[in-house]
Symmetry: C2
Subunit: 161 residues, 2 copies
């Protein structure tokens, strides 16, 4: 299945999720790990669309999310940069664009290793707080959060992949 | 906001809904009314995308669905024919394509007034039964149904618009 850029933008406008988790992680310098994640969740009947997205972006993984739901998931920073470049060239049309711009800022900061500085980390927490309005309280405790990504399971113990 | 055909296909692959309601209607010859409907539901923050779809297809209405959810909704047969022509030229990529093909068959039958014949009506009931797996039991009673269209409210008393 071959996807066109415009189709990908339209589908992600509907089904995509840009998400920042801030997870407790005693071994990290800040005591927390910043985990940006791009996901598209579908019923298993449309798993072939998830693989087409993986092929389109040339990175990421397709994994069972929960039950009969599967996810195309990108966590690797180099791949997230590629995703951000794509959606910079091909802007989203829904208000998800606002989430994307915040997400891209965090990815850029991580590329520059600024999430490892107190100032950078504070800015990222502030950005994540704005993004993840769905479970703000959880975010304030700096646990895993979901925000607008209704379907995604974020297991706390899982490592980035 | 200008939409491209591919963006519309991608967005509808994610967010669109092709739905057949079969409603009790004592004044109709069959005792029931066949009501095909194409809808896209969004949070009110993205109402401008719904108006862009209305403008793209050149017909349909944007209405509050329930709470903070709004819908672009097409019920007029002439406009549904236009929608079906578009998605015939630009096929969906998800399994929603299967729903669409069934939906198009019903629209075509209604155009030919075959829903007013016992054989045609029976075929439409059978198609609608296959489409609306979510609330099959309700369909068997031939009430309003939702199927895969998770967000749409189908008020029984409302007339087609």
């Amino acid at each position: 299945m071959k996807l066109s850029p415009d189709w990908v933008v339209g589908f992600v406008d509907g089904e995509g999720c840009f998400h920042i988790s801030i997870l407790r992680h005693p071994e990290m310098e800040m005591g927390y790990q910043v985990l940006p994640e791009f996901t598209v969740v579908q019923h298993e009947r449309d798993i072939q669309v998830l693989y087409a997205l993986k092929s389109f972006f040339g990175c990421g993984v397709v994994r069972r999310n929960h039950g009969d739901r599967w996810a195309y998931r990108v966590r690797k920073l180099s791949c997230l940069e590629r995703i951000c470049e794509f959606f910079t060239r091909h802007p989203l049309k829904t208000k998800k664009q606002v989430e994307f711009v915040r997400f891209r800022r965090v990815v850029q900061m991580m590329k520059e290793r600024r999430h490892l500085t107190p100032e950078g980390f504070r800015e990222i927490v502030e950005i994540a707080r704005k993004m993840n309005t769905g479970r703000r309280e959880a975010l304030l405790q700096m646990e895993g959060t979901e925000g607008l990504c209704e379907d995604m399971v974020h297991p706390r113990t899982e490592r980035p992949g």
